[in-house]
Amino acid sequence: MAEVKMIFIVDDDQMQAMMLQDYLSKYSTFDIKIFNSGEECLKNLSLNPQVVFLDYNFDKIGKNAMNGTEILKEIKAAKPETEVVMFSGQDRIEVAVNTMKYGAFDYIVKSESAFHRSENVIFNIIKRMKLQGEARLYKKLTFTFAIAFVVVIVAIIILYKLGMIKDPAWV
């Protein structure tokens, strides 16, 4: 669980946020912070959360409170590498599809099974992070190998032109 350290829970429902925090706290490596509005979450993005569980409706905060999609867009604009998991009582498919379009990693409908699902989603995020890390490593190795190959070829050509090597078998 080394890759996911900081988790934000953004929900105006105190019980929901505390239950999710308690559920995920069985993994002592997670540092979990609760915010009751999107605005508070955005102010604290400098803490570099790897995962944000984000509610969709913030009606309790007030009519002018940002909704889930607006907060999601701002998080992804500021921290594209942060994975946002929508965690909402809203079970309309078009809402889920819309948030996925704006970069949400997954969409969980608040229910009795939502907590177990949230744990699985974190495992999937960790899996994806590992794959992305491996892909970056292979890309780096391929690039290093290509550079080394070009350097060797250029060196051989220069040495050949200088007469320091004669008729290499491959020329």
Binding site: D12, D13, Q14, M15, Q16, M18, M19, D22, Y23, N57, D59, K60, G89, Q90, K110, S111, E112, F115
Partner: protein, 116 residues
């Protein structure tokens, strides 16, 4: 057959049977639910259906976690009718039934918290 309105099976499983945690969640519900019911009543009376939908929506998961099965369908219907502004004439009766169930649930949960 039990005449209980609430069913704490989910909370017991979720908390691994921890009485402290069960009481903690019930207390949050007891603090929040009466205020939300009052808010729903005034929103209904003032014809603020968007507000009614929003409040019903936020109460919905808590009703599920407290195992108030009879209230789940009602709060969902209230949310839907208020959100879509349909069957508005049915909302007062639906809300009255929902409020009655919630009040019984609150009394039951209060008794649960008061247990030694």
């Amino acid at each position: 057959m039990s005449d209980h309105i609430t069913d704490l099976t989910f909370l017991q499983s979720f908390t691994g049977g921890s009485r402290d945690k069960i009481v903690k969640y019930i207390n949050i519900f007891l603090q929040m639910c009466p205020g939300q019911l009052d808010a729903m009543q005034s929103l209904l009376q003032s014809g603020n259906y968007d507000g009614l939908r929003a409040t019903a929506h936020s109460l919905k998961p808590q009703i599920t976690y407290m195992g108030i099965r009879q209230g789940e369908g009602l709060v969902k219907t209230i949310e839907q009718y208020a959100g879509e502004k349909i069957n508005l004439d049915q909302l007062p009766a639906l809300f009255a039934s929902f409020k009655e169930i919630c009040e019984k649930a609150i009394a039951e949960l209060q008794a649960e918290v008061n247990k030694a």
